[in-house]
Subunit: 317 residues, 2 copies
């Protein structure tokens, strides 16, 4: 039997449609509605909701996209929860008091388009709306998922990652870099995978733990690749604090360690594997195009070839 | 049989102790811990948690403070949820992009004491931590309460009230004033009362609706009295946008209408009544002390006497 296939663009379209519906049905009805809409739609690549939905379908062994992700189902609510929560963190991150970014996804950031207090309130509103979506779930583990979700996203999770980042403690040691990436990036990805898996069986068990560990590894892989990409940023401050600048060898080791850890998990999860491979291939294409930049900036050709080769998960069989 | 008595200071002490414990057990363990602690402790008058706890004891007909409010119980978690959530709104409200207040409860506001991004993140963290507390409840109606809570506090509740306030649409009409007060002030008070009542019976029923309506009225009463107090603010902008300035007659009518609506509810709720009476009496004392100010600012003596008299709930029997 051949592996099941899920087209990334079909998945994206379904999740984006659900997100719009959930915002429309459960979101604001007042004049602030347009700010929420502007911030959420058009959606980005919906990375977290996609992983969540794929985990769900992988565990139910049912890959009928529209049926499995119909807007009324708990999994659809959980996927939209992830994106709303993620977008609230982006809106607040972009504020002048935080990263002070005027642009997001190729458009003006919310506070530039509207104003600061409106962006601040919209972030708060999306934060709360994300949990409102969870309250509409019917699963017997809904409250348990709320507990995990608020732990992953809260002051011992994502928010503490932001604290370490902004306080520049992140760069005091490689251990802190790793901790920041774990909290700020991996936790929400872990939550996405765990939520999808657990909702498939309506229980939290040993398999949930496998997804948790995989999410940790894939989250770190993505963040270290993102950092590698960010090395080409023109902003000199961003350059200076990039972990590949200060801890290149340790970044290499960490990247490969976690890529390797993903292998056996992915071998039995075909649709997640397809998605991750496509994602990594896009990354490698960009890096290859910019090979000259990296060679000029202290990377050895061998190091680069090793990174490029590692992305091809299939070759590890 | 004489009415049960609950000393406001004993209630406050118990709720404050629970709040500190919940922050300690379920809150941040990192270096940001001190910002959370500074923002939450020492607690204010714990108005919302107090109403919540009193509603719970009123409905269980058990007034043993320490036993009823021991920190592990759902009602104790819900009371702390209310305060954490309230304090997150205060931290964000005080930010320069919002009301730009340097002081709060007689001390520097969180962003003045620490800095803006730390205050912003701490607000976000408290918002999430408040819902984390709800996830620790055991009640069969925990998820239903999450649904009501996120509706009251979200973009169709408290947050939209803040939007109306900051966009200065609040003062376009008395209808808007009323709507803003309802969303920004009453909703969290309604949630406090409804949460306490519903947790006493582990069900949401007709009595819940009575608490909801009472919360609406008492919330509006308190906000209009607060506005009356704020008239003496020296900030001329605050003065200008005060509803008693522009809509004095309508404020009078609204205040009395809702005071009257509270009467029959309170007649059968002795400990809530005691608490509200004490609260109103403190308000009246301050207003009486400043009678001259109000007389100089367009109020008639008769109007003032009517307000003073209305505060004495017992006299309405």
């Amino acid at each position: 039997m051949s592996d099941p296939q899920i087209e990334a663009k079909d998945l994206l379209a379904q999740l984006a449609a659900n997100l719009a519906t959930h915002l429309d049905i459960l979101g604001p009805r007042g004049l602030d509605k347009e700010i929420y809409k502007y911030s959420l739609i058009p959606a980005g690549k919906l990375f977290r909701p996609s992983l969540c939905a794929l985990a769900y379908m992988e565990e139910t062994k049912n890959y009928e996209l529209k049926k499995q992700l119909s807007e009324r189902k708990d999994i659809a609510l959980f996927a939209s929860f992830l994106e709303m929560h993620h977008v609230y963190t982006l809106i607040h991150d972009d504020l002048p008091a935080m990263d002070n970014d005027d642009y997001r996804r190729g458009r003006e950031s919310s506070h530039k388009k509207f104003n600061e207090w409106k962006a601040l309130l919209t972030g708060d509103g999306l934060n709360i709306l994300s949990f409102h979506l969870l309250s509409h779930m019917n699963s017997p583990i809904a409250l348990k998922l709320l507990k995990i979700a608020t732990r992953c996203t809260g002051s011992n999770g994502l928010i503490y990652g932001q604290y370490l980042d902004l306080s520049s403690m992140m760069n005091d040691s490689f251990k802190n870099v790793r901790q920041t990436h774990l909290l700020k990036t991996a936790r929400l990805i872990q939550l996405a995978l765990v939520g999808g898996q657990a909702l498939a069986k309506n229980t939290i068990d040993g398999t949930t733990k496998e997804y948790w560990k995989f999410g940790e590894s894939i989250g770190l892989v993505f963040q270290f690749l993102d950092d590698l990409d960010d090395l080409r940023e023109e902003n000199s401050h961003e350059q200076e604090i990039n972990p590949w600048k200060k801890y290149k060898d340790q970044c290499h080791v960490e990247l490969f360690k976690h890529l390797n850890r993903c292998q056996s998990f992915l071998d039995t999860r075909p649709v997640i594997k397809q998605y991750i491979e496509r994602y990594l291939n896009k990354n490698i294409d960009v890096l290859k195009e910019n090979q000259d930049f990296y060679l000029k900036n202290g990377f050895q050709e061998q190091e680069l070839l090793k990174i490029f080769a590692s992305f091809n998960l299939t070759s590890h069989h």
